[in-house]
Amino acid sequence: MIGFETVATPTGLIIGLLCGLVPLLVGIRYKRIKAGIGGFLACILSGFACGFLGGLPMIVLAVSVVLSYAYVNRQDPFTSRAALSEVTFEISRREQIERTLANLGNNLRASWKALVRNKAGFVGFLGIVFFVGMTVFGPLFIEYEGQARLDRRQPGARALVAPPSAEHLLGLDWKGRDVLSHIVHGGQRLIITSIQAGLIATTLAVALGSVAALVGGVIDQVVSTIANFILTVPAFPLFLVLAAVIDFDNDFMLAVLFGALNWPTLMRAVRAQVFSLRERDYVEAAYALDLGLWHVISREVFPNMVSYIAINLIFTIRVAMYTIVGLVFLGLVPLREPDWAVMIYTGRQQGVLFLPQAAGMLLSPIVAIALFQLSLVLFTRSLEEIFNPRLRSGM
């Protein structure tokens, strides 16, 4: 109802429609019909894909974009036409919300422009959209084949595997099932778990790194020692051992474990960055004003590192996928179909690795993983431009 389980259900569609009404009405109210309709469509899509999890954030984003077209800042002396005597500096609640939203919308539009401008990054973005779209909406069109299809054995053939044909675009696997259906259905868990793992690792790293640098003292030493320790233990072999110790039936557990082992590198970078930022005047000023640790982190330090952190997040997601696929490839986590990595594993186990006609079955998941990872790497190029104000001001 709330999350991804509403994919391709009428509930999701209704949620999307309801959410879409908000930007549409706002668009009509401010006479920006085109932007309103755009927001309406975006809300339907994300509500359809992720239920309330996608619909509610999309309302905020869509409304902010619509507002950014319509809103005029009355306090800005360059755009306001009001006489100076009429300008009031007491901001009403509504005014403040509108302004924040309009700012967000402006930023979103600027980011979109930066995204489109970098060609490599845009290709990466399209790749990610393609794979996410395929795993989310693909199941609507292509039915999953879980049962062995012995009836598909070609006369005289020794195995059920078949190369691509007009009927089965990517061929048949070792049980005679359609490979395309496995590709479409098999990415969801892998992608979601990798993203979760990357998010956990990045959150830990940012939180620990900034706290260690800003608080210093014993906390800093303890965190640094733990980081040193984790960096010394070889990550992948350790995962091989942990895969036996911990029962990985739960995908989220895998993500948490990955996060717990992969924060140190980013944590060190964040810590070093915060150390150097701490010396800057504006941070010292914030300290002098007694604005508190949380304010300093979220308002002064964090915005300066967003670019670095976002790029690192993408790379951590990549490494997470690398690790998870590697564990499956060695057969160390419970195998569940459909899954791209399991397709490679079974291909190797069934000994079809060396059969020329099994190319469709084996190459498809391999190419899917390689292309997804490639898209992630290319996408970081755009992220650099989106978050780097010096690069962005050039437009």
Binding site: L231, P237, L240, V241, T265, V325, L353, A359, L362, I369
Partner: protein, 365 residues
């Protein structure tokens, strides 16, 4: 990424205790301190893995006991004794005692015997398989470093040329693909589909039909078998070297001393090698030293895929067979390699970059 020296409180004068003063002076020495810290880290990692691997479900003896009980219909006690003598390992011995045994052996330089491979000491196992990994991964690392820095230097110097644009695209594509995915792609496309090489021929470390020795044939066969895993290691790591050398070169080119060198009318070759190349390489050398530490672990998946007789594949075998002693030994080797290459990176930085050396001198004196 280097081990940064933690802040040490200023030397307090300790009245009266010359020995304590002397020890404090030793601890103040930068090198003594980082080596001491390194040893502590190795001990911590080894202890941690020691207890962790004993949490893995099942142990080699239990599987053997089950086997003996069903096949030879022995009682549990008999089967247990038989299995224990076979494996030279007593699973009922308390873990703390096992740990003391392990540490005691370690002090004497003895890592114990492999549990599943009877009569083979872990040390001899490591000595036998480590060279394969060192040779294969190590030379691949060196080749990709040298090639990558040269290419990156040229691309940074002639920015915007066709070489720069083409190689940047290729490098970012290749560095985006995981190594084992690359290996599978190469095997499937060039081995199975195009039949450029026979897939069965590239498994293992050397042709088993050739007698070992310093003959041309033997060495050639080793090279032949290492070619494919090596090129996969090179391909999967070279992109990062190229891209980071390129950005390092570009930032070095903006330095004043390059402009001065140009103004002095030095030849392009001299500027490129002595001024740009040397300085741009500094940050990469630290990373090279750190990657040396990870050579030892090799790549478990690649070695397993090619049945390459290296340390990584043996670690995988030990993990699946619950061979505790072998696992401990290999983890110890890997941790030591990582720690000491970190220290090496730290020292190399000070040695190569006078600015760092001077700062360190101020700190310690």
């Amino acid at each position: 990424m280097s081990i940064s020296p933690p802040a040490v409180p200023p030397l307090k004068s300790v009245p009266g205790y010359p020995l304590l003063k002397f020890l404090r002076r030793i601890w103040q020495n930068y090198y003594v301190r980082i080596v001491g810290q390194g040893l502590l880290t190795i001990w911590a990692v080894t202890t941690f893995t020691f207890f962790l691997i004993r949490q893995m479900p099942g142990n080699p003896v239990e599987t053997m006991i089950d086997d003996l009980m069903t096949r030879q219909s022995l009682t549990y006690e008999e089967a247990y004794r038989a299995a224990a003598t076979l494996f030279n390992f007593d699973p009922n011995r308390p873990v703390t005692l096992q740990y003391l045994d392990f540490v005691g052996g370690l002090v004497r330089g003895d890592l114990g015997d492999s549990i599943t491979r009877g009569g083979v000491s872990v040390t001899s196992l490591i000595v036998r398989y480590l060279p394969w990994t060192l040779f294969c991964v190590g030379s691949a690392l060196l080749i990709s470093f040298v090639l990558g820095t040269l290419l990156g230097l040229a691309m940074g110097y002639w920015r915007g040329s066709w070489l720069d644009n083409g190689v940047t695209l290729l490098a970012s594509i290749i560095s985006g693909i995981p190594d084992y995915i690359l290996a599978l792609l190469i095997i499937l496309v060039f081995g199975v589909q195009l039949q450029w090489f026979k897939v069965g021929d590239v498994r293992g470390g050397v042709d088993p039909n050739i007698t070992p020795g310093l003959t041309f044939e033997y060495i050639f066969s080793i090279l032949q078998y290492a070619l494919l895993p090596m090129s996969i290691y090179i391909l999967s790591s070279i992109g990062t070297w190229i891209l980071s050398m390129k950005s390092s070169t570009i930032s070095t080119l903006g330095e004043d001393y390059i402009a001065v060198a140009k103004a002095r009318g030095l030849s392009q070759g001299r500027i490129l090698t002595d001024y740009v190349g040397r300085n741009a390489m500094l940050p990469l050398l630290t990373r090279l030293a750190i990657s040396v530490g990870f050579v030892v672990g090799g790549s478990v998946i690649i070695e397993d895929m090619f049945q390459y007789p290296g340390l990584g594949r043996n670690l995988y075998i030990a993990i699946t067979g619950r061979d505790y002693t072998t696992m401990q030994g290999i983890f110890l080797v890997i941790a030591s390699a990582v720690v000491f290459s970190n220290i090496l990176a730290d020292m190399a930085m000070g040695w190569l970059d006078p600015r760092v050396r001077l700062r360190k001198g101020e700190e310690t004196s």
